[in-house]
Symmetry: C2
Subunit: 241 residues, 2 copies
Amino acid sequence: MKLYVVGFGAGSFEGMTISAKNAIEDCGLITGYSVYTELIREHFPHKEYFSTPMRQERERVEYALSQAETRNTALVCSGDCSVYAMAGLAFELWDKFPRAEIIPVAGVTAALSGGAVLGAPLTNDFAVISLSDILTPKEKIEKRLECAAMADMCVALYNPSSKKRADHLKWACGIMLKYKSPDTVCGYVKNIGRDGEESMVLPLSELAEADTDMFTTVFIGCAETKIINGKMVTPRGYRIE
Amino acid sequence: MKLYVVGFGAGSFEGMTISAKNAIEDCGLITGYSVYTELIREHFPHKEYFSTPMRQERERVEYALSQAETRNTALVCSGDCSVYAMAGLAFELWDKFPRAEIIPVAGVTAALSGGAVLGAPLTNDFAVISLSDILTPKEKIEKRLECAAMADMCVALYNPSSKKRADHLKWACGIMLKYKSPDTVCGYVKNIGRDGEESMVLPLSELAEADTDMFTTVFIGCAETKIINGKMVTPRGYRIE
């Protein structure tokens, strides 16, 4: 049977692709991190749900794969199914559950859904970097921030801070300021497409003090990024041709 | 009235978000690059369409904005509305059409939809870089490729080649090979979600010779990316915890 690893977008029903909706409808059992299964339950109340708290990724994915050997099962992820999400782990654990067919269903990751809230920040080349050092060593994150800044790419930062990593965004801003002007246009969006959505456009010099959390996505512009009527916009050169 | 700048995903009806579908249904007039309006016309035949060929971006966006002053209009983009797409230009030209309200509708960009075809290549930090030097100087693209490779990020390459840029992918592979092993797992997907979809997983040493075109998205893995049952998978460390 099928294990759909479903990226459901930011969380609203409308932010989901039609494929994601169809995949969930095709399943009796919906599995995932508890915050995400609760979002999905609002839209699909008549399903069986199984969730585990944060950090129990392996248990969750193994359970989903085991169930998918005998019935169609969805493993739901916010945003995309792959970007900081579960499709990779499902493939890694696949060998123990050969009767499950794994079908990744792509979704709108926060760099895109948050971008649409702010305007059009990621029109040109960009990097997506998570500031969480739980699964990636801090030195590696630092190198990626340095390189993205050196190359004047726009950057979308995921997991900019949490209770345990309260100072990570400040640290990242320090690295950015080595290469980017303090006037670089930045922005952030909290709770994209969910209750309490909130967004702000501000210069890089003020970003370190922004009130962000685990449900915030941060955008750092490139040299050309500008503010147009309060929107964060990176041009791509069409206008000057 | 409204100008929805709609990222409609790879091109299939199912790859569209419910927001994108609703936005198009809310409009009488659909505008865009002719390849894209033809894709949308299949799903929404009873609309008025206006399209311009490639390179006439400014004319297309100005027409869409002018129409949106008096009726709801959609400007359709494949993938996302912002990534190498039209939302930025719409905001730039907005001042001449103040009665139009611009609403970006995010969509699944090819890095994500193509990723789902290949497996889960972009599980961790990644860069999205276009090899088209029509709107970005080649030196800037080179720097971005260098920096992404140095930082061992996964990379999604857009516009890897065209008739005029037949050797661009070869050039990009040369830069990657300065920093990444020739065994680095790579992949590409042609015509994602459309007729003639085709994909391949192959080592970086063979990527330069791959038969790619303007409708191909190329994926270059990081040091940890591996092949599992023919799928391109970048782990994120969940398994080893």
